[in-house]
Symmetry: C2
Amino acid sequence: MTTKETQQLILDTAIELFNRYGTGRISANRIADTCHLSRGHLYYHFKKKEEIISAIYDRIAAEVKHNWGDDLKQPTVHHMLEMFDRYLALIWRYRFFYREMLTLLAMDESLKQRFSKDRHDRTMVVVLFFQALIENDVLLGPRDAKTLKNLVKASWIVSDNWINYLSVDSTARYPDCVDEGYELVIDLFRPYLSPKTLSILNRSREI
Amino acid sequence: MTTKETQQLILDTAIELFNRYGTGRISANRIADTCHLSRGHLYYHFKKKEEIISAIYDRIAAEVKHNWGDDLKQPTVHHMLEMFDRYLALIWRYRFFYREMLTLLAMDESLKQRFSKDRHDRTMVVVLFFQALIENDVLLGPRDAKTLKNLVKASWIVSDNWINYLSVDSTARYPDCVDEGYELVIDLFRPYLSPKTLSILNRSREI
């Protein structure tokens, strides 16, 4: 295996174990054993568990950033819906991170700063994307900048915490939890959907 | 001190320490020392830290339930605004619980079940309250039951996680964080506010 392939195997395995058991119950040694790697070999790539978590966050951030340009180039209803769906599915894939976020960020100041900066930058892009949606009559508002920013923040908080909210009552299941979260986020924007957007949305539900 | 006064002192002290340092860093012994009680005396009231956390949750639940009857008797704009404000201020007072919620519920199955049932019951009451607001023309909608329930859930998730969201960027400060959370929740309902409600809201801001 190349270095890149080995690191990918380690991260894929860690994500699966963290999602299932939580980071507190999974040691770096357990990850090495599950990958059938020696502990020294894992140590060569990642000195401690925090480095694995930090590398997983890099992957999350890269996936979020991957389509940024596209978001702004295509202010369409399809792209808006795809963006909600894509983000909720990402949270499902990395659900341990969103479940333990405050603890993980408190343990690693550099991770916290990257996360905070990425969230700030991404919020700005999403606000611009929604402004473009309003200009293109996909949405009828909100035209007030503060209300729009609050709505983007609220949809962010709802997305990040939806699977956590569900998991108090029962075990969240994929893809149902993503579909339910998607409906919840759409409903935040429902009063602003233009008649044309509503008709596209209703048609896409019938499929 | 009476038993009730001693227990109140223990809980008040625990809340302050948990809010400041997190439950992981605070032992039952540390709480006893801060209260100037012997460890045996604290043990007489609470056998372990989990029992203290459980008793604090009972207090949270009692505070939330305290005004339930009122909520339904007064479907007015003033009462709606007071409800948002009251709930966000409660989350600030017990912010450690909302910060560590998933971990705390995972450690105590009985607490998790009480929390889940209370949240379910309370959601039903809040939905009824909003239906009454719609009937009383405080709100113009949403008239669709599913959209209304989703909006209530979303406002719940936003309220519960607002201080957590803020704390990633900086130290959340009272009362600013409560005021900002209040604006965020109001903005979720903004498109449904009737003209009369909007004028009351604008007047209350000028004061």
